[in-house]
Amino acid sequence: MPALDIQSVTKSYNKLRVLDRVSAQIDKGELVTLLGPSGCGKTTLLRSIAGLADIDEGRIVLEGRDVTKVPIHKRGIAMVFQSHALFPHMSVADNVAFGLKMQGVGKAEREDRVKRALSLVRLDAYLTRMPHELSGGQQQRVAIARAIVTNPTALLLDEPFGALDRKLRETLQVELRRLTKELGITAIFVTHDQEEAVVLSDRVAVMNAGVIQQIAPAVDVYENPANEFVANFMGFQNIFDAKVRSAQELAIGDTVIATDKIDVAPGEGIRMAIRAERVSITAGHREGAIPGQVSSSTYLGEQNAYVVDTADGPVTARIPTSVARFSMGEAVSVSFDPAAVRVLAS
């Protein structure tokens, strides 16, 4: 039984369908990131799960209990918001104690658990501070402590690190992952940063226009995108039209390239994707490679990023500077690592 079962949730704002039959099953203790472009419905999905937004259709089942009609405060789902949303008139300790107070936990136990939660986020020395006396990262950690202290059935985090600088984000990502694993908390973490998603989660759900496009372990989403949207979003720089020639061959324009096994019938037109790192460039013309001309070259330190103009469109490649260098306008040909070619579902 999944800890959190989202069943065909649909929600519209003024006739605009923001969530379109969203379904997902999340296991106990699992950390799923929800990844997608701005406005695709991530916040709306979290708010629907928490009960802060009413859904039009579908069900939310929490550890076997249908909570679709249960009011917010009885769901046991804690949420961490993008802006920390701490209570400005309460000290750090009182903020964290709030949920326990509402649950009727006695004073002694409360103090104990507050201290423990704050030490988990490494803020035990800040009990008596007011929220405005903390840095952004500390405020966000208090918000996390406030959410986890109640032992929520599910923890929802809406871009909690969005406003923080890169270094702090990385530290907090590691801390958050450690925390949820230590406590066995089922969590959904919203982000629109694909790197954050890959680092943090057991599984990644990629969302677009109110629909979950793919939900799979980070490696799968990263390496085997289910469709063109996911490929694009996960940073596949090269996406082309191609035709299936045989179980291990694709035709791109006039060039036939080798691939790993393809599950599509020969003769069908498909879209294929490949990452720039898995494209190689050789000088001159070569069989099984697409001829073209170097049209741009960007130095990235360890690597050079080249764009090669071909009859089938521009191809982006990243070549380690130690391997080879090409000059602008040079006639080259590009070839693809057969194991890295991905056929996208339409």
Partner: protein, 260 residues
């Protein structure tokens, strides 16, 4: 040169604002039967005299009662109105806001007259109820203004966070919303109290012998007498306002410590 000019202007401004107050306060200690400035010699006798006059003391009690009850009635109304204006998705909330703030811009003589006419028409002329209702009306805009100002600064996500942490709507209101709007609410209550306590133009139309307020009785007193007892009462009122202003300043300070 510029600074000097600026300093002189400020000094003049302050003199202009404060001089009448100083004159009143000093004259209230004069021994003469007629208000004089500067007084030749000093006494506290006019304070004793004023405090012993039932027309002042009972009017003071009336005013106090009126200010307290109209503020007390306006307070929950103002909270509800501010919530509706700033939080609700109420259709026509701009209109509601304009209507609620209207008593600030409509001359209060007009309001007094309007209430007098309307209530007589409706056959509703109980002196004190009518008076309190009118005072609620003039106090309300101040409360709504300051309370909404506090509420606008309160992050609605904090209330939602409280809900997800297990607080029902009532407890969310008591523990999160109310403390959040407290600074504005308290400032509004103090303003409201002073506005009501000082009001002449509306009370003039609606008060009767039994519900006479202090400003009204001072006005009628000076029509026939010009002894320093009026100055003594005025000085006491100024003192009260001063205490309130200091309290208000404390709140402005308090607000900063709350980080709002």
């Amino acid at each position: 040169m510029n600074r000097l000019f600026f300093g002189v202007v400020i000094a003049l401004l302050f003199t202009f604002i404060l001089a009448p107050t100083v004159v009143i306060a000093l004259s209230s200690f004069g021994t003469s039967e007629i208000l004089e400035f500067p007084p030749q010699s000093f006494t506290l006798r006019w304070y004793a005299y004023a405090l012993a006059r039932p027309e002042f003391t009972s009017a003071a009690w009336n005013s106090l009662w009126l200010a307290v009850s109209s503020t007390a009635i306006a307070t929950p109304l103002a909270i509800a109105a501010s919530l509706a204006i700033t939080r609700g998705r109420l259709p026509g909330r701009e209109v509601l806001q304009t209507i609620l703030l209207a008593p600030l811009v409509v001359p209060s003589v007009v309001i007094g007259l309007a209430i007098l006419l309307a209530s007589s028409r409706l056959g509703f002329s109980s002196g004190s109820t009518r008076l309190i209702a009118a005072h609620v009306l003039i106090v309300l805009p101040y409360l709504v203004r300051t309370t909404s100002a506090s509420l606008v600064r309160l992050d609605p996500l904090a209330e939602e966070a409280a809900r997800t942490l297990g607080a029902n709507s009532l407890r969310t209101f008591l523990h999160v919303t109310l403390p959040g709007l407290a600074p504005g609410l308290l400032a509004g209550m103090i303003f409201g109290f002073i506005i009501s306590f000082d009001n002449v133009s509306i009370s003039l139309f609606l008060a009767n012998a039994r519900t006479n307020t202090l400003p009204l009785s001072l006005m009628s007193y000076v029509e026939y007498n010009l002894d320093p007892s009026v100055a003594a009462v005025s000085t006491l009122l100024i003192l009260m306002a001063l205490v309130v202003a200091i309290a208000l300043e404390r709140f402005a300070g308090l607000r900063k410590t709350l980080g709002a």
